[in-house]
Assembly symmetry: C2
DNA sequence: GTCTATAGATCGATAGAC
DNA sequence: GTCTATCGATCTATAGAC
């Protein structure tokens, strides 16, 4: 579907929430219909490829958001430290301080991973690569930057899991604060 | 079901693998039947509560394994550093160096969390609490130990996600090595 | 205890009226 | 573009023969 209008944006965002809360298998067309206020006929009009296309469009939507708000600052900001700061702010905003799960991370864990290998790999790969590059521009050598970047992205993912497990967003906030300190922003 | 015989152990372990690979919604009784070599009638003979009871028994099985191999060393080993070392060894063994996903972590992310809130909270809560206690016995003060324990468990979970995303167990191995260093074993 | 057969609900997807 | 009706497959769960 064309995802450029505000209306389409809202539709994709609502579908994304269903996938996030229920997972790929748990996100039935009935539930997606309820969440969007659309019948199955309308959904298939927008997404002829059905549920799999809906998930693919949602993943593309997420990729675009991260490119603009997370990766671009890491890449383009003159001062790497400022870019890293903006990356962490965007991360906090996106995951609603730990109240919202990472759909890509959830997909990576179960069988839906096989459906979306490319998208999942690109998402985490870009995140780690851009963060490492920013750290290297900040003066760290490559091995150290690579390791720190990988470790930071993993810490964010793990904190999301623990926040959900404890139903406590403070876990995520602490993890982000700690990342901020380790990355020396 | 009674889970004390070797036969029953094997059955629960096979069911666990299906839940791990497919998630709660994706683990259909047909697939569980194929993985165990049992018909639906037999499965319901062992688990009258059906799929939900199967998942509950699997979670109890995991809890028992972690109690024995992960939490007990942290609690009982005379030298806290030795207990932490054994905890990390058991973690590496259990997750097959990153090739195996954490079922409890996966359940925490989607709607199955609501079904098993108690079990999920207990699993992560025990892990963090036991690790923090060991760190305190090792000389660290409580706030520092709590934070380090939470951060370590989150790092392990995040590393499992990234290992799956990149299809590379080296990510998990690096995370465990780094945890070993941070915990000063 | 094991199986097959099947119920009843829900799944993803399609057809066709409007 | 939206809806309802419906298809065939699959789901969880049960019944009942052996």
């Amino acid at each position: 579907m064309r995802a450029d209008t505000a209306e389409a944006e809202k539709l994709v965002a609502r579908i994304a929430e269903v996938f996030r809360e229920r997972g790929y298998e748990g996100a039935s067309l009935t539930r997606i219909g309820q969440a969007t206020g659309l019948g199955k006929g309308s959904l298939y009009n927008f997404f002829p490829g059905g549920k799999e296309e809906m998930a693919a469009v949602v993943l593309a939507h997420i990729a675009a958001w991260f490119e603009e708000n997370v990766f671009a600052p890491l890449r383009d900001e003159g001062q790497p430290a400022a870019g890293i700061g903006r990356m962490l702010d965007a991360t906090d905003l996106y995951f609603q301080s730990g109240g919202r799960v990472c759909l890509v991370g959830a997909f990576a864990l179960d069988d839906s991973r096989n459906r979306f290998v490319t998208e999942i790999r690109a998402y985490f790969g870009s995140w780690v690569a851009h963060l490492s590059a920013a750290l290297q521009r900040g003066g760290r050598d490559k091995p150290e930057a690579d390791q720190l970047a990988e470790d930071t992205v993993a810490a964010i993912q793990g904190a999301l899991t623990l926040s959900r497990a404890f139903d406590d967003t403070a876990v995520f906030s602490r993890a982000l604060a700690r990342a901020r300190a380790r990355l020396a922003v």
